[in-house]
């Protein structure tokens, strides 16, 4: 019962947050409402017994990534007149909603065919740091290593694109 | 003489052409090299001709696996049909170097390339190899036409290139279909043209494949109604290109029909033969009628060439040994007559600076040798007995009559239609009074005359004593009908009533 209530709560907040993201004009407002979604999602992870992910969602996503985003928004010091006017935003939103309906319909139909199960708290070991970590470093070592290359690339990229570059020649 | 005679004949001009293309040589050197190489090819081809024993099978075979996993091979060989197209190109091309002396280096280089590619196409015994040469021979034409053509060269170039490539790509699909079918039948991959004869395809897909090949060849020949690229291209192209296109390249389309399509699609071919024969006949009449209305002599000759190709097509689709043999013979005859006429047209254009018939007149009195040679070529082209044109045309009409009376009779109309426009042309250009453009027309120089003499003699010899030539052709053509299945045999006499009617014993 409590689980259902919590789920409803988180679900409503996450959807509202997402709606806010796509509706608010100023990206700062959008980022804030997106934060709501992210936090709600963390809650949902918890409900799904994903303890490690719950923590990481809060720390990495809501914490690190979003603060970076917010920082950049602040850093750019965006004035309202710098923002796109977007007078036809509502039209586009509605049109987008219509366009995406078949996709959503299709996915929902697919979900309907999947086996269902009630969500209850799983056994002790499920989703814990140790268990996930064991799987991670035993079976998923290669992706882990590859991700390191990815992060390096992003690092170089950020430097190249936004950093200072000395003129050659 | 050599082990790989055919390879040498193919690659000698190609390599020489590429060297010419890149080496910084003068025009004169290029011309001499071109002439020398084409003469060398001619000598080799005579060797081939002498060594050809007319067994009805492939001779001078060379076989080197190329892509073994798909059975594609560098496979060469010639039979009586290839031999004559080969000879035609080897004999005719040296003339061009003699006649047109002040062209750019690339002109001669491209001529050599096209010669090699054409020889390759007729020698290829592997479908992929055939296709490769088939496409390659278009490229030099593309460049010659675009670089050295007349004022409206670019549209003409694009039209011929896109048109022919469109056709040949359809052929690519069709030949892939053949190979796949062969694989399905025997479990091994092969693109050998000979082996395709084992196939006996029928059904919708086979009909589609047949049409794939046929459209490619019909465009190249060109068969009505795929001829519309021809007038522009023939008119705008430099003389040598027109010559190559009309004299030899068009024939390779016919050759393709005979070598590739007929054996592989016996049933479907027999089913559609009448249809194609009508296309040939209609094309003959259509182009012949159009020719009479032309005011540009090159265009007139272009339509005349297309008209003759219609007759040749009828010969192919009549599916009996007379018609087919006649076709091969007519191929050579047409190469020597219409091809040479285009050379004359080139000389005319060069010396009078006009392509309009109305600007010319009275050349016969200015230039008797020119007029004489032109007349002989023209008469061969209208099929006068005693010239090479008659034998082929007669055999084709004979064969067409057996195939279908209506086709035969309509083919016969070519006797009249051809004469109408040719005489008109001859009258306006060579007879009547001289006009300003033709007033100071210079006759052929001795060297030029000498260049034409072999061909003119060939026209006459082929008309008077064709037997030695036909003897080399006939075994190969007869072979197509020797193994014909009953279905084909039945289909070949579409008018059995007539045949029966003609031969029934009178009581």
């Amino acid at each position: 019962m409590l689980v259902d209530l919590l789920f409803t709560c988180f679900a409503v907040f996450s959807v509202l947050g997402a709606l806010g993201l796509i509706i608010f004009r100023h990206p700062m407002n959008g980022a804030m409402s997106f934060l709501v979604t992210l936090v709600s999602l963390a809650g949902l992870y918890a409900l799904l017994s994903a303890k490690l992910l719950f923590a990481l969602q809060l720390i990495v996503y809501a914490g690190a990534i979003m603060s970076l985003v917010v920082f950049v928004i602040m850093f750019l010091n965006i004035q309202p007149d710098q923002l796109p006017a977007e007078k036809t935003k509502v039209t586009y939103l509605v049109a987008g909603g219509v366009a995406v309906t078949p996709v959503a319909f299709f996915l929902l139909k697919v979900i309907n065919r999947l086996p269902n199960m009630p969500v209850s708290f799983a056994d002790e070991g499920f989703g814990g740091v140790k268990e996930v970590g064991l799987i991670f470093f035993r079976e998923w070592l290669v992706p882990f290593e590859i991700v390191s290359i990815l992060l390096l690339t992003a690092l170089v990229g950020a430097v190249v694109l936004a950093g200072k570059r000395e003129k050659n020649k | 003489m050599f082990a790989h005679l055919l390879s040498v004949m193919i690659f000698l001009p190609i390599v020489a052409g590429l060297i010419l293309l890149f080496a910084p040589l003068s025009r004169t050197t290029a011309r001499i090299v071109g002439f020398g190489v084409s003469l060398a090819v001619l000598v080799l081809s005579i060797d081939v001709y002498a060594g050809f024993t007319a067994t009805g099978k492939l001779e001078f075979v060379e076989y080197i696996p190329w892509i073994p996993s798909l059975g594609i091979a560098y496979h060469l060989g010639i039979d009586g049909i290839s031999l004559f197209i080969l000879m035609a190109s080897a004999v005719l091309l040296p003339m061009v170097y003699v006649l047109f002396g002040t062209r750019e280096k690339g002109y001669y280089a491209n001529l050599l390339l096209v010669e090699g590619a054409m020889i390759g196409a007729v020698c290829a015994a592997d479908l992929v190899l055939f296709y490769v040469f088939w496409e390659v021979m278009l490229l030099p034409v593309f460049f010659m036409l675009g670089l050295y053509g007349g004022p409206r060269k670019i549209p003409a170039t694009l039209k011929i290139t896109l048109y022919t490539i469109a056709g040949s790509l359809l052929m690519l699909a069709a030949l892939a279909y053949l190979a796949v079918q062969y694989h399905a039948l025997t479990g091994e991959w092969s693109f050998s043209i000979e082996k395709m004869g084992l196939l006996d395809l029928s059904g919708h897909a086979a009909a589609l494949a047949l049409f794939g090949f046929m459209i490619a060849f019909a465009i190249k020949i060109p068969l009505f109604p795929f001829h519309t690229w021809l007038p522009d291209a023939y008119t705008e192209a430099p003389t040598a290109t027109t010559f190559v296109l009309s004299a030899i390249m068009a024939k390779i389309g016919v050759y393709g029909v005979i070598r590739v399509v007929m054996p592989a699609f016996e049933m479907e071919f027999a089913r559609y033969a009448l249809f194609f024969a009508y296309a040939g006949v209609i094309g003959m009449m259509y182009c012949g009628l159009t020719a009479i209305a032309q005011k540009d002599y090159k265009r007139l000759l272009a339509f005349s060439s297309a008209s003759h190709m219609g007759i040749i097509a009828v010969g192919v689709f009549s599916m009996n040994v007379q018609a087919l043999t006649g076709t091969i013979y007519q191929i050579v005859a047409h190469a020597t007559s219409t091809g040479v006429l285009f050379l004359f047209a080139g000389i005319l254009e060069e010396r009078t600076r006009t392509r309009s018939i109305n600007d010319l007149g009275g050349i016969a009195s200015q230039a008797p040798i020119f007029a004489l040679f032109f007349a002989i070529a023209m008469l061969a082209s209208v099929g006068l007995p005693g010239t090479s044109g008659f034998i082929g045309e007669f055999l084709i009409i004979l064969g067409a009559l057996k195939f279908n009376v209506a086709i035969g009779v309509l083919t016969g109309l070519s006797l009249i239609i051809g004469v109408c426009y040719m005489l008109w042309l001859f009258q306006r250009v060579f007879f009547e009074k001289s006009k300003t453009a033709s007033e100071r027309f210079k006759d052929l120089s001795p060297v030029e005359s000498l260049a034409f003499v072999p061909v003119i003699l060939l026209i006459l010899v082929m008309g008077i004593y064709p037997h030695p030539f036909l003897r080399k052709i006939e075994p190969s053509t007869a072979q197509y009908f020797a193994a014909a299945t009953p279905v084909v045999a039945q289909a070949t006499t579409v008018t059995p009533a007539l045949a029966a009617d003609l031969t029934t014993e009178k009581n």
């Binding site: 299709f106 996915l107 139909k109 697919v110 065919r113 999947l114 079976e139 998923w140 070592l141 290669v142 992706p143 590859i146 991700v147 290359i149 990815l150 390096l152 690339t153 992003a154 170089v156 990229g157 430097v159 190249v160 694109l161 570059r165 003129k167 050659n168 020649k169 | 293309l21 890149f22 190329w66 892509i67 996993s69 798909l70 992929v128 490769v132 496409e135 390659v136 490229l139 460049f143 675009g146 670089l147 060269k153 670019i154 170039t157 694009l158 290139t161 896109l162 490539i165 469109a166 790509l169 359809l170 690519l172 699909a173 892939a176 279909y177 190979a179 796949v180 694989h183 897909a205 589609l208």
Partner: protein, 472 residues
């Protein structure tokens, strides 16, 4: 395990090289030229190693590595050869390109290597998330390379478009992976394949939806219709060598992983045949129609890339019939890569500072002033158009053979029709170069020998691939 590392040698080499160059970039003593040579050397060395491994190594169809996450097969080897070759020639063309344009730095070559390592991984992955990560490595590196010229608004615009749409497509890949995972309980191709094989493709809507989204992401990267729109703008905004690299190596990597994914189970491939059939047709024709209207050479080549993706999709449709799975696709990719790289290699040294020559009309009369370059470009164009005896022709022949053998005659015929249509815009450039009088002087000498040499080598490649087709 050592064997595993041997098989991974090229990836490791390239990645270490990337990191090394990245570190070197921090010190001032490394000149850009030196970095370029090092980078090129790395590519070349890796290429040779891989070539040796391909020719001499065991011909087992699959060698699964690392818990079945990576795989080395003849197909992946062939694809990685193509990618390494592309890298090598991209370095060459970059060298000549940056003689005239000076916005390069050492990191440029590092990023090239990063991108290449992502691509190499992509050819090998047999697991969805690794695929995603490898895809992102590649994409991120390419984004940066596209936007490398920071002073150029066009280049920034290109990276912006590419980034947004690429990330958008990437999200589909993750969502698709999630659904596949939800159905099969794993993201490894082998297990997915087993699952599909035991339960059937159509009885698993989640597999259907998941693989659909995954396909969408792949199709986006391959620029197939209707996910093609970005490709023109991005190619247009990127610098010449990078455009060439994207057009070839990226496509190779994507089609490699695409084929690997579809090969997970024949039921899966069969299930998508109809879908790919229509996508292939639409891509070919849409690409052609877009290409026909272009005046800019780069945009035309981009649009023709859409068409070639269509052909490659035919190859994917006909995967089942190939003696070595994917061999036809690999061959086509190699042939296409040789031609495209060649053009970009030539354009790199031809186009001058700030890429002034980009429209068809700029190339009028090139054959008069630079006959050899014009000749080379013509050869490349003919190869792309599929005229024998170039490599492109053989690629097309194989694709059509494969299509007919699988019974896809309609597809084969439409492919042919599309290449007829395509002739026009390839010929157009040749016509412009050869048959028009020069309107501007092409007096500038090409700045480096390396550009011409690599172009020449590529011309030879175009013929060599066709006449000596070892890939099959």
């Amino acid at each position: 395990m050592t064997n595993d590392f041997m098989l991974l040698f090229p990836v490791i080499l390239v990645s270490l090289g990337a990191i090394g160059l990245m570190l070197a970039a921090t010190s001032r003593c490394v000149q850009i030229e030196q970095a370029a040579w090092a980078c090129g050397g790395l590519f070349g060395f890796a290429f040779l190693v891989q070539l040796a491994a391909t020719l001499t190594g065991d011909q087992a169809l699959y060698s699964s590595l690392f818990n079945d996450i990576l795989v080395v097969s003849p197909f992946s080897k062939a694809a990685s050869l193509v990618i390494l070759g592309c890298g090598l020639f991209t370095v060459c063309s970059s060298l000549s390109y940056f003689k005239k344009n000076n916005f390069s730095s050492t990191e440029y070559y590092s990023l090239l290597l990063f991108a290449a390592s992502g691509m190499l991984l992509l050819t090998m992955t047999r697991e969805l998330i690794s695929t995603f990560i490898a895809l992102e490595i590649m994409s991120l590196a390419i984004y940066i390379l596209v936007g490398y010229d920071r002073d150029n608004v066009l280049s920034t615009e290109a990276v912006m478009k590419y980034l947004i749409l690429g990330a958008f497509a990437g999200a589909f890949l993750t969502m698709g992976s999630a659904f596949v995972y939800g159905a099969a309980g794993s993201t490894k191709f082998a297990l997915i394949g087993n699952f599909v094989a035991t339960t059937g493709f159509l009885s698993n809507p989640a597999i259907l939806a998941g693989s659909f989204f995954i396909l969408v992401a792949f199709l986006f990267k391959a620029a197939a219709f209707p996910f093609h729109a970005w490709v023109l703008d991005v190619y247009d905004g990127a610098s010449m060598p990078i455009t060439g690299f994207m057009a070839t190596a990226l496509k190779t990597a994507i089609f490699a992983v695409f084929a690997n994914f579809l090969l997970a189970d024949s039921g899966l491939q069969q299930g998508w045949v109809t879908f790919l059939f229509y996508i292939a047709i639409l891509s070919m024709f849409m690409g052609n129609f877009i290409a026909i209207g272009q005046n800019s050479l780069k945009r035309m080549l981009a649009a023709s890339g859409i068409v070639h993706s269509g052909y490659l999709l035919i190859g994917l449709v006909a995967l089942g019939s190939q003696p070595v799975p994917g061999s036809v696709v690999a061959f086509y990719l190699a042939a296409y890569a040789a031609g495209t790289l060649g053009i970009f290699s030539a354009l790199s040294y031809l186009s001058g500072k700030g890429e002034q020559w980009k429209n068809f009309d700029d190339f009028k009369g090139l054959a008069k002033t630079k006959p050899y370059t014009a000749f080379a470009i013509s050869i490349f164009l003919l190869s792309m158009a599929g005229i024998p005896p170039t490599a492109g022709f053989m690629g097309k022949l194989y694709i059509i053979l494969a299509a007919i053998q699988t019974g896809q005659i309609t597809l084969a015929v439409l492919g042919i029709v599309s290449s007829i249509v395509a002739m026009w815009y390839y010929l157009r450039l040749i016509v412009t170069m050869y048959f028009h009088a020069p309107e501007r002087s092409f007096a500038e000498e090409c700045p480096s020998r390396i550009g011409t040499v690599s172009t020449l080598v590529l011309v030879l490649c175009v013929f060599a691939i066709s006449l000596y087709p070892i890939a099959l």
